[in-house]
Amino acid sequence: MTAVTPITTGRRPPAGVSRSRRGRAGWVFVGPFMAVFALVFLAPIAYSLYLSFFRDQLVGGTSFVGLDNFQRAFEDEQFWAAVGRVLLFLVVQVPVMLGLALLIALALDSGRLYGKSFFRIAVFLPYAVPAVVATLMWGFIYGTRFGLVGNINEALGVSLPDPLSPSLVLASIGNIVTWEFIGYNMLIFYSALRVVPKSLYEAAEIDGAGEWRVITAVKIPAIRGALVIATIFSVVGGSQQIKEPSILQSLAPNAITTYFTPNLYTFTLSFSGRQQNYAATVSLVMGVVTMIIAYAVQLRGMRKEA
């Protein structure tokens, strides 16, 4: 996102009068977006900040408690266990998914494939599948009852480890998320690769660079911006996880606790636990944690760029 160059209009209007008129016109276009944005983004943030300073009790009603909720969040083992789980997930899943997506994009871009456009669309297609449907599908496939895993066990007389057992369920979720988004990320990388000037490859080749060297020295640096953006989106998306675990919960109630991810925990707190003030606090803390991670990714990406 740092790579965004704010685009200024090429030519300035000549006179001051017309400039202020144009200024108002700018707000006519941006205003509607910002108004709704304020309602659904800024107001809820402000509201949860407000909520986080209060406590609502059956006896005694609402009372101002200062930073008590935050203190509780920082000492909350369930919350930090959930954060740790999500971090573990991010550290493994995001590099695997983006690495594979990059390899596929490079393969498509290399021009060495037969049936390139088929592969491009085939790998992308899962993105069009809603997460709920994807999770239900994979949930069935994982099933030892009538799923593929069960079929394979039966056919080969083996017993594969249950993908929905507590020790494997995080990896199984990682697989679902990877399946859903690998094509989307591949396409972002591929689109970025396509606009790298071909003359750069030729120049490198004349200098005696082999294909692998062209990839590491020319192609990957040229799409660093796209890599950083995709990493940030994947990190933010991964840390918000709730759909996949909450849908798999009915299939794997023992493996997925009500505080499996921070979001699932907030959801449980506010709807089953009716602790909305504390839920708002946890949301805020998680938002800050996510932003710190996203910011760190961005800094790292920029430093390499320099």
């Binding site: 996102m1 790579a3 965004v4 704010p6 685009i7 209009t9 090429g10 144009r22 200024g23 016109a25 700018g26 707000w27 276009f29 941006v30 977006f33 944005f37 659904v40 809820p44 949860s48 021009g111 060495r112 494939l113 037969y114 669309i121 085939a122 297609l125 993105y127 809603p130 997460a131 709920v132 449907v133 239900l136 069935f140 009852r145 009538f146 799923g147 593929l148 056919a155 690998i182 972002i188 689109s191 970025a192 396509r194 000037p197 071909k198 003359s199 030729e202 080749e205 799409i223 911006g225 933010v236 918000q240 709730i242 849908i247 009915s250 299939l251 959801f267 909305q276 949301s283 805020l284």
Partner: protein, 313 residues
């Protein structure tokens, strides 16, 4: 960085976009710019295609099975009687045709939510790309900052707010939050900056055209590929919407498809509930067909639109 012009006809010529380079390199037989096709690499890619398509194949195959043969046949091959049509009609009529109702709800959320989100993003992106105005930097900073805020973390406070406003359990509770797509705004901004020559706008102004008229008559046609892209991606998002409706909607009559399917699945898993796995599977298939069709039919538009986004990205 070379700035390609993103017009529909450019993408239709995609297959030949490498034409100039190979011609220059034609003296050599194979090079980075014109490589030899590789069977090994194609086979490796075949594996990824199998990974991507296998679950979809599983879904199609199992939508043709009855509830009974679903449980006792091999998942990746057909078995028993061909029950696809039975399953479809059962899905559509089960529980007084609630699936059709969910489908119409989803359509409503998608048309109003994704359509509205695209409209706001197009207007805003155009305004950011082509006008200088007070507060532009602040707009940029706020929206980019908001992308990093976990949207689902907003869901709980939004619910509390909306319940005070009496909006929960109504379609508005799902529609209003889907009207904002920061990614759509960003994409339209980049796209409008590339696709609309400022000179063209100046010319229209000189001719006395008002700003809104200039937008609709001059700018909008040039933005078409970007608009289709944003529309498709916001559509996917709204179609995909799950967490927000889970929180906002308690009445099954206002469920979107995703919630309905999950409700059927849970019904099947609870003791005493009627197992309707065949309906969950057939319903899932019916849910993804429209989206996959849209992506396949509109390929040339969204691919060029995404390309525009990644240039600046």
């Amino acid at each position: 960085m070379s700035a390609p012009s993103f017009t529909a006809d450019q993408t239709s010529r995609r297959s030949t976009h490498r034409a100039p380079a190979p011609r220059r390199a034609a003296r050599r037989k194979h090079s980075v710019a014109r490589p030899r096709r590789s069977t090994v690499l194609t086979l490796l890619m075949g594996l990824t295609a199998v990974y991507a398509l296998m679950p979809l194949a599983w879904l199609v195959i199992n939508a043709t099975k009855t509830q009974k043969s679903l449980l006792d046949s091999f998942g990746l091959w057909f078995s028993g009687e061909f029950a696809l049509w039975d399953n479809i009609s059962q899905t559509l009529t089960y529980d007084d045709g609630i699936f059709v109702r969910w489908f119409l709800n989803t359509l409503l959320y998608v048309v109003v939510g994704a359509g509205g989100a695209t409209f706001l993003a197009v207007l805003g992106g155009y305004g950011l790309a082509k006008f200088d105005f007070a507060g532009k930097r602040a707009v940029f900073a706020t929206v980019i900052g908001a992308v990093a805020v976990p949207a689902t973390a907003l869901a709980v406070p939004t619910f509390l707010m909306f319940s005070k406003m009496g909006l929960t359990n109504t379609p508005w509770a799902v529609i209003i939050p889907s009207l904002i797509s920061p990614f759509g705004l960003y994409l339209m901004w980049v796209f409008a900056a590339e696709a609309i020559p400022t000179e063209l706008l100046e010319a229209a102004r000189v001719d006395g055209s008002g700003e809104l008229r200039t937008f609709f008559q001059v700018a909008l046609p040039l933005l078409t590929p970007g608009i289709v892209t944003v529309l498709l991606f916001t559509m996917v998002q709204t179609w995909n919407n799950y967490f927000l409706p889970v929180i906002m909607i308690k009445n099954p009559d206002w469920y979107p498809l995703t919630l309905g399917l999950n409700a059927w699945n849970q019904q099947a898993s609870t003791a005493g509930g009627q197992p309707v796995f065949n309906l969950v599977i057939t319903g899932s298939l019916l849910t993804i067909v429209p989206l996959i069709a849209a992506f396949l039919l509109l390929q040339r538009y969204w691919q060029s639109g995404l390309a525009a986004g990644s240039v600046k990205g």
